[in-house]
Symmetry: C2
């Protein structure tokens, strides 16, 4: 199999973790007889510095022509004070929107070897394995109007939570499809007791749910969901929610696995390339020091192999290598107990390749 | 001291917990020589059933004429399918707005006796004592326009996140004042990398912060805050955020104390009566069974004594009685370990009065 992969290292620790991911993909290619071709392009702060825009047209073009996209991370204090469209994050948002990557899949898996890294009690984490599906191209992130204006009451500011029914429908349908391949239990999270958008969301979920009678649909208010994720995470299988709620809940849920350094994500559209990125950000404080944990990016690569290339076996090979590396006690700094030895980014990359 | 208190029992377990709270206030009055006069009024689902509106004009009138308001809870499945304005929650939102109760104070305290009730590891909870200040009368909860409309792309729906600068300013100022009386560390939570409203929020916090040079101001993105509350809750002292973020984060933070049944809240305006209510909802599943935990309501009463009546000593007497009751091993059902004996709502009420 020959595949074109757009690699967007981005800012902070992005270049370090994507570099290791590329090496891992090359090793997978060698062992399984595939050819992965890489095209590198700029996004985020580094693109802003070079071109004045966080998503150059050329990058978008490279992404469109690829079979899948691997992204590191964007953002950093250096660019934190520009106006909205001159921020690294705007590049990522524009890319998500341009490619209609509306379904953001964020699996939260508890690695038995890492149970102690979480602040939750081990017995609460037993068997936790959930998939959060976050709507990624609508809601407060993109709604118009937005911005400041003068009013009778002085300066005011507005953001708009906007969804078409069709946008709600397609992500819910995707969630039902995914739930069907898992434990057939879907929790749809909203704030239907307050928001009009949530009431349409809930109605739509009920309606689409009729097409999936084998999937058990449950509604949960977002405040309660924030609580239940900590109280009894084992009750969740598949979770679906709108963009902003998904941003908050998926980062919260990340704490179940002990470190944000372990969490991959896939952003999918109905056609065209998927985008794969670790959930952790650019971590400017440790950038350039060979300290970052590349495992979330490796797991994102596994998702790419599975969702974009249908290479289930290759994906599992990566996941199993990671499991074994952890079981044998290897840790990056974020996972290490105080005083424990840990591997650098490149050492961890090497280790996983050796275990493949 | 003579004080008029409006009591709005509401729905579900609301009547049970407010009844015990009234008894507790009477006991405080007796011991400390105060007279508390109670005026009962309807709100939420029970008001809808009786009058067709979740906040009857008469209730609002009674609240306006009182020195403080004690509320139980609103809502339940019976009323979950009406349109927005015919829901129990609409009554609560209207009351908050009408009385301009813009500052919602939600303390999260870990009771040493209850450390085991939390799903977090005891060492993570050590010394946790934080105060979340949630903006309560703006943002997505109240912004216009809202609702459904037909568009070129079919049915669509909108909610509006709207704030005037003045609204942002007053709640931030309140938060700085409160932080000043605590550990002088204020974390302002926003999503400034995406939302225009958050960018104004952050700028305003920086500007107001100059008036409080003794308070250390820190900004945190909401997704990161959702994570940090679980990862290292001890890092927080005072937290301030907008309405919807506050709804989610405060319920999440509630898990630190092991049970939502322990968390009080105060909603304050610049003048006029404050509103005091437990953070837990109406819990329809256990309503009418004498199983509810009244302690969150008792702690709300303590906040009333402190914030509305300036009765610091009386407030402390309640808090200390609760601490002692817990230390002596008394539990309500939500706090009991499996198989452990527990007290009913009325028994817990009696116990706290006896310890006062
Ligand atoms: C960087 C930021 C814009 C982004 C988001 O909020 O979507 C990030 O937090 C994420 O979750 O992918
Ligand atoms: C009942 C509901 C409208 C309310 C809110 O969202 O504000 C509740 O969740 C709360 O936190 O007080």
């Amino acid at each position: 199999m020959i595949k074109q992969i757009a690699v967007l290292p981005g800012d902070g620790i992005g270049p370090e973790v994507t570099e290791e991911a590329v090496r891992l993909l090359e090793e997978v290619g060698k062992q399984f007889g595939h050819t992965f071709q890489f095209q590198f392009a700029d996004i985020g702060g580094c693109a802003l510095d070079k071109t004045g825009t966080p998503l150059p047209e050329e990058t978008l073009q490279i992404c469109r022509e690829s079979d899948a996209i691997l992204l590191g991370a964007v953002g950093g204090p250096k660019w934190d004070h520009g106006p909205g469209e001159k921020r690294p994050e705007a590049g990522l948002l524009k890319l998500r929107k341009a490619l209609q990557l509306y379904a953001n899949l964020r699996p939260v898996i508890v690695f038995p070897a890492l149970v102690n890294a979480s602040t939750l009690k081990p017995e609460v984490l037993e068997g936790v394995n959930l998939m959060i599906i976050r709507e990624l191209t609508g809601g407060l992130y993109f709604g118009q109007p937005r911005g400041r204006k003068e009013t009778d009451e002085g300066l005011a500011v507005v953001d708009t939570l906007y969804y078409t029914e069709a946008e709600i429908e397609r992500v819910l349908r995707k969630a039902f499809e995914i739930a069907r391949l898992r434990k057939k239990h879907l929790v749809s999270v909203d704030k239907a007791n307050v928001l009009d958008s949530s009431r349409l969301w809930r109605e739509t979920a009920d309606r689409i749910g009729k097409e999936y009678p084998d999937v058990k649909l449950e509604h949960m208010l977002v405040d309660n969901a924030a609580m239940q994720l900590i109280r009894r995470p084992g009750q969740f299988d598949t979770v679906v929610t709108e963009n902003m709620f998904g941003d908050i809940l998926s980062d919260e849920a990340a704490m179940l696995s002990g470190s944000l350094g372990m969490l991959p994500s896939a952003s999918l559209s109905d056609s065209g390339p998927g985008l794969y990125e670790p959930v952790h950000g650019s971590a400017p404080d440790i950038a350039g020091q060979n300290l970052a944990n590349p495992l979330a990016t490796f797991l994102s690569v596994a998702m790419m192999l599975k969702y974009s290339f249908n290479l289930e076996q290759e994906a599992q090979a990566i996941e199993q290598a990671i499991h074994k590396v952890l079981e044998d006690g290897y840790r990056t700094r974020d996972l290490a107990q105080e005083g424990e030895r840990y591997l650098t980014t490149t050492e961890m990359g090497e280790k996983v390749r050796a275990y493949l």
